[in-house]
Chain length 120, copies 2
């Protein structure tokens, strides 16, 4: 594949709500995930668990993905609009974020960095 193929497959799967399929099949064993506050999580297992924890107190209705957009030999970015309901409040809301991904020569995603505003 190539950066472009990886990125288009990523967007196609996420647009179908298959985010966990993406993580299981496209993330490198040594992936680093960076949250908006700069906190890093290392390793495919812990990174996927972080997402499972995030989803656990929400209903996830779906998402809209803009992109992919490319920079340099190994990075792509997307803009997500996540349609969720928080279980605690019953409030349905659209969370927006940008995510930047780094892809290595094995076509695996080795880094993800999330950009967002406020509570997430």
């Amino acid at each position: 594949m190539s950066l472009e193929s990886v990125a288009r497959k990523f967007v196609e799967l996420c647009s179908q709500g298959k985010n966990f399929d993406v993580m299981e099949t496209m993330y490198a064993p040594d992936i680093v995930s960076v949250e908006g506050d700069g906190k890093e999580t290392k390793g495919k297992g812990p990174v996927i668990q972080k997402s499972r924890d995030w989803v656990s107190d929400k209903i996830f209705h779906g998402e809209k993905v803009l992109g992919p957009y490319f920079n340099g030999p190994n990075q792509f970015a997307v803009h997500f609009t996540l349609d969720i309901t928080r279980n605690a409040t019953g409030e349905r809301t659209a969370l927006q974020e940008v995510a930047v991904y780094t892809v290595d020569e094995r076509d695996q995603i080795t880094r993800e960095a999330f950009y967002y505003d406020g509570e997430h």
Copy 2:
């Protein structure tokens, strides 16, 4: 100011179409600008000239800005939809891109990286 104040001022001015005001007032003298192909331009003067060259063969009708979104102590991202007409073809089109900015302790933008897909 703070990263957040800088980013919100940036988005406010860009949403008004005042992109060159942003460059003149918020860019550091030693800013580095990275295009989608990875090519870097260094220095406020050359970076602003690059944007003037880009605009020179287009009509710029306006733009929609999503964000700002934050990561870590010194970065923010936005999603632009640029409404332009190419003079060469008369074709009006909506160009989409993500841009990631780095802000230093002087509240100046020291780096911008553009992510996009295809011709731009």
